[in-house]
Homo-oligomer: 464 residues x 2
């Protein structure tokens, strides 16, 4: 029965591919850039496009809800009835800026297909997430006449701006957003090997400025008789780790959930695959880190502190004989699932403040913190997703933790406390860069996966 319904929905989608793609182009033509106030009317047009699609599909309470930032597109399809579980679906309709424009081969808001790839800003990140879900829902409604569970959609308009008003919005709309499962549709599969990332690290962002004299001083006249702020910066940075890379900030590991033995064994087994993934981090590098933990645990499941930038004094060619007036640094601390971002940030700030001296001042230019998340990776819901991926891609998905941070997931988990799983439609091409693209065949496989997953999910007892 499930198999039949899946086949009907998948066939329906594929029979209408061309028409659906035309419809997607309309969405992609809207330059819904959230970081630039000049595009505010386009953000609204982006929201309007989604609203009209939701209405067409029979969603209720469809509205662009005002937030402190950009509108949140909400709609609910509760026709499965109160005895059925409710799934909340997240994606975002805003996109990154397009600079540098001259590097685009075709204009970013004129969708163009070349060699099986659809080029446009947002084609992958994350209009594919919204459009993919709409297609899954439409094909199920068109073929079965109904959805097997209730659906609420939460389509954000400020993800690319860091979701500044989302945490308070979620908290204020706790009842509206009540659900049994949250599906995050941001990301997706971009190779033949499906991967499920089931945790993200939280992130604390801090900028510290150390100030000494009111102006740079001549190092000949007073060198040795005045405290140098750059030395204090060195001392603070040196204090973060012991010589093996273990973080020495008191309380830095508080609350961190350790890997299970099963996870450790799994990561050991897939070490080489994971290492390959890590090398997308940037240039060539050598592994290093805290003894007693393998590299994947260090990079995804343990807290880490990294100075992202240091500055102070003379930066030009050659030398300059000064004692700088100011020196500072920016850091990000990644925190592990289980840790409280605000608590750890307070401990880090307290540690840094302990370096204050009579002759220098320490200020915090910026303090941010976002919660980590731990999503489903075992149990019936995760199994339903794995089955869907296996059915469509012909391979077991890899299950990994991400060392990165997706603030919105942490916010949902922290505020709503509901189970979360990822199901994305992006194919990850040149995201945030010129010539962003969607691999069209991979996208249709992702839509197929979505249909499989939704129907397998219908067989699972949710919210029990």
């Amino acid at each position: 029965m499930t198999t039949d319904r899946i086949k009907q929905a998948v066939d329906h989608v594929h029979a209408n591919r061309d028409a659906y793609m035309e419809r997607f182009y309309d969405f992609l033509r809207i330059p819904s850039i959230s970081t630039d106030p000049a595009f505010k009317p386009d953000i609204q047009r982006g929201a309007d496009w989604v609203l009209s699609e939701l209405k067409r599909l029979g969603f209720d309470k469809v509205s662009a809800m005002p937030t402190e930032g950009h509108p949140l597109v909400y709609g609910e399809h509760l026709k499965a009835g109160p005895d059925k579980p409710t799934v909340l679906v997240y994606a975002h309709y805003d996109v990154q800026p397009v600079d540098p424009l001259n590097l685009w081969e075709t204009p970013p808001f004129e969708p163009t297909v070349r060699n099986g790839k659809l080029y446009a800003r947002g084609a992958s990140d994350d209009k594919s997430g919204i459009f993919g879900n709409l297609l899954v829902i439409e094909s199920m409604l068109e073929t079965a006449g109904s959805l097997p569970f209730n659906v609420k959609v939460f389509f954000e308009g400020e993800e690319e701006s860091g979701s500044p008003s989302m945490e308070s919005f979620i908290a204020e709309n706790r009842d509206l957003l009540k659900a049994d499962l949250l599906i995050i549709s941001d990301g997706g599969s971009d190779t033949g090997q499906p991967i499920i990332y089931y945790s993200t690290r939280g992130i604390i962002g801090i900028e510290v400025l150390v100030t000494g004299a009111t102006a740079d001083l001549h190092s000949g006249l007073v060198g040795g008789a005045v405290r140098n702020p750059a030395h204090v910066v060195g001392k603070i940075i040196a204090s973060f780790h012991d010589e093996n890379g273990h973080i020495m900030v008191p309380g830095a590991y508080d609350g961190a959930t350790p890997l299970t033995d099963a996870e450790r064994a799994y990561f050991d087994k897939y070490e080489s695959v994971i290492l390959e993934g890590l090398h997308t981090a940037g240039g060539d590098f050598k592994l290093w880190g805290e003894p007693g933990y393998n590299f994947i645990e260090r990079a995804t499941a343990r807290p880490s502190i990294d100075v992202n930038g240091i500055y102070g004094g003379y930066q030009g060619d050659g030398g300059k004989t000064i004692i700088p007036s100011k020196a500072g640094f920016k850091l990000t601390m990644r925190i592990a699932p289980g840790q409280d971002a605000d608590d750890i940030k307070a401990k880090l700030v307290k540690h840094i403040e302990s370096f204050k001296e009579d002759t220098i001042d320490i200020q915090f230019v910026r303090q941010e913190s976002y919660a980590p998340s731990l999503m489903l990776f075992e149990g019936p819901i995760a199994d339903a997703q794995s089955k869907a991926l296996h059915d469509v891609w012909g391979k077991e998905p890899l299950k990994l933790r991400s060392g990165g941070s997706v603030p919105i997931i942490g916010m949902f988990q922290k505020v709503l406390g509901l189970p979360i799983i990822g199901c994305g439609y992006s194919t990850g091409g040149s995201i945030h860069a010129p010539n962003e693209f969607l691999d069209i065949e991979h996208f249709w496989l992702n839509v197929d996966t979505g249909i499989h997953f939704f129907y397998h999910l219908a067989d699972v007892k949710l919210g029990g």
Copy 2:
């Protein structure tokens, strides 16, 4: 007898002030900027002007001696005879660049008098040093018909470029430069209180670059599993001092000549005056430093290390989640009289190199070292100078150490090993900046001081 000769020479100078000033203007009109190759012909014109003056005064072996850089103007007046001592006089005829030109009230190479001040690039630094010495010698020759000792002049053409070829030049011309005393005429008195600076600290300039991965990495993907070069920079900088400001680099204090008890007592006595001088170092600051040494000792007679600039990673607004590929810092270490600049530099380099790790590289972008100097501050020559200053200015000169570095003095002391004393003609107005000036009345007092000093010096048994 000495008093008569002094009076005659002083009277002669003052009787010819206007004519002498006109002659000085000719010298000041030559834009002998040593840092810019475009001015090479003007450097030659500057040298030629000095050569013709030396010839007019009866100097022998007058020549612009080639160096690896700009020509060195040499001349000798040995007519006092082989039984008389020889004094070597140093000054420099090159000047600083004039940018920003728009801040000059009158063109830098059109000498202009306003409110008792003569405005021109080089008016103080250091054409006044050359011209002052020429006037002292001319007035003595015009009134007494001879000089009481032999004189050699060493007028440099690349001081403002850091004297790159001087150390080798001095070493190669050791015999030619043989003398019983070296007088440094760079600097002078710019207030009613004459000051004798009798020591300079040496300086070691180093730039260190720490390199990790071949490109910036994503701190989410690998944070905790890759060594961060900015952390190594912090560790190196933190290693330089203990918590009290004592330098922890092994051997950093080797060879440093301690202050005598008399000097300590003197500095304690003049503490407030010296503190006032220190505040010309730049902005407002609080004193700090190594326990057991008063601030003047820290700033002028003890080695010090200062990071002048640190850099690495993201420097813009807000944050960026990277592990920087590179981070670095520039430092100057001041070393005390008695220390060997090359030896201490080697020890500092070795210490920094000890932070090399398997996963990061440490490179030295730049390494420079210049020797410290300890000039005369007691004994008959210093007394002759103090007497001259007291006679002319009506005050005892303050005798201080300078915490700064004057590489050329260290080179002379290191290579020639002869006694050195300062006798400058500058009045220190806006040196190296727009609207450089010479306070005309102070300049004439400095010339008077030079005449007094030379005649008092003639009564001292030099070279004994």
